[in-house]
Symmetry: C2
Subunit: 243 residues, 2 copies
């Protein structure tokens, strides 16, 4: 076993939060700061993560990490990829940060992403100096966390085309414009308004309420909810081949 590295397994969490007011898809990251007497050694951001406790499943660890960061439980989470390149934690700042004691450790991380509303997180309550950044305008990130966020975002883009996960990012009651704004924000595209509206309204699982927006300056728009029950019943055995 000599020269063998000690293995470590962690879970890292990409927390996506959508801000319906600013139409911005954001990622929650925490500050990493270290200085010597002379200079700043490390000053950037990282994802939150932690090693997997002995009696925990991977899902347990992800849930714990999110709860410690945001206070939230029961958010949509998806384990999307494991990262384990031998050189993933070997740039200079990372070595300063993890210190010598862990120099001989190889860390595999199982990455999850969470989908929630920016509004649901009270950043004043956390001790991590956590901060939202737009997914398309991220700060300098430590370790391989830029890569992890990029891959999480790619997975989200693909998945939101074929599964109704997008509603996890919206308030329970939303307008059709809210849904279109969100798709445009995630995919970075412009969607034809009339086609989109017609298609969406025709879905049996998009249900119109007897309610309209309140407190808006323009003409208040109709509010809708997404019914997971209806969706699940429709798609239980109804495969739609769309290659």
């Amino acid at each position: 076993m000599k020269n063998e590295k000690i293995l470590n397994v962690s879970v890292d969490c990409v927390v996506f939060g959508y801000d319906v007011a600013t139409k911005s898809l954001n990622v929650l990251v925490i500050k990493r700061f270290l200085e010597s007497e002379k200079e700043v050694l490390v000053d950037d951001y990282v994802l939150t993560g932690y090693h997997v406790y002995q009696h925990e499943t991977l899902d347990d660890t992800a849930t714990r990490v999110l709860k410690e960061l945001t206070g939230l439980t029961n958010q949509y989470k998806k384990q999307f990829k494991a990262f384990g390149n031998p050189d993933r934690l070997t740039n200079e700042k990372d070595l300063i940060w993890i210190k010598n004691e862990e120099f001989n450790t190889r860390t595999f991380t199982i990455a999850y992403y969470f989908l929630l509303k920016t509004d649901d997180v009270d950043l004043n309550k956390n001790e991590h100096q956590a901060k939202w950044f737009p997914v398309n305008n991220l700060p300098e990130l430590g370790f391989d966390h830029k890569k992890i966020i990029t891959e999480a975002y790619e997975d989200l883009k693909t998945k939101c085309l074929s599964e109704p996960i997008i509603f996890k990012l919206l308030p329970d009651k939303f307008t059709i414009n809210d849904v279109q704004d969100l798709y445009e924000s995630i995919l970075g595209i412009k969607i034809d308004n009339r086609n989109f509206r017609r298609k969406l309204i025709n879905k049996k699982y998009i249900i119109a309420l007897d309610e309209k927006q309140v407190g808006v300056s323009k003409k208040p728009a109709q509010l809708y909810i997404f019914s997971k029950d209806v969706y699940d019943k429709m798609f239980q055995k109804n495969y739609l081949i769309n290659i």
Copy 2:
């Protein structure tokens, strides 16, 4: 660090092979056999896997495992999930198999699946007593490998609806019936023949050859190929929202 389990990280591979002649989607598993003087202790099947070598990426390990099992390289592979429940290797047979020395080890496995043609694998060449089983008629499996196969299969079912991965399971030249048979085999459904044929023929990336089947007793059918180049160009920026 006392009482801490030693961590181990492995890669397990679900090898899906499609047999176009019998229209059967199969999984390649290897025999696990152990007997004492008195009785058979372990007699079942498992997936092939191996721990991750020090200088390997996870993809490297998966590629190595497939090559050792089948001789094949460059097959479609997908890392689909990590499994790390604390109790995943604790049933009686598994404990006999892994022996006492590894009793205090917690093994995380990063699971991949591969898509290939049953015909491409020469089982006589391998030393593992490897065998194909239909995915819907699996033998008794050790560890949590039944669960891993089930989750790989679910991922394949979802993915084949929105990405053209199905062509990895077919010969380069195929008939429209071959594609339909394959979808029906994977999804366990009956597809309307005329609709399916019309839709598929209209795809720009399904290209008719100046060739027909040879050596068939019925009327020889038109052969087609799938063009990845055309597909990639069409879908590069062309998101199709289909929730």
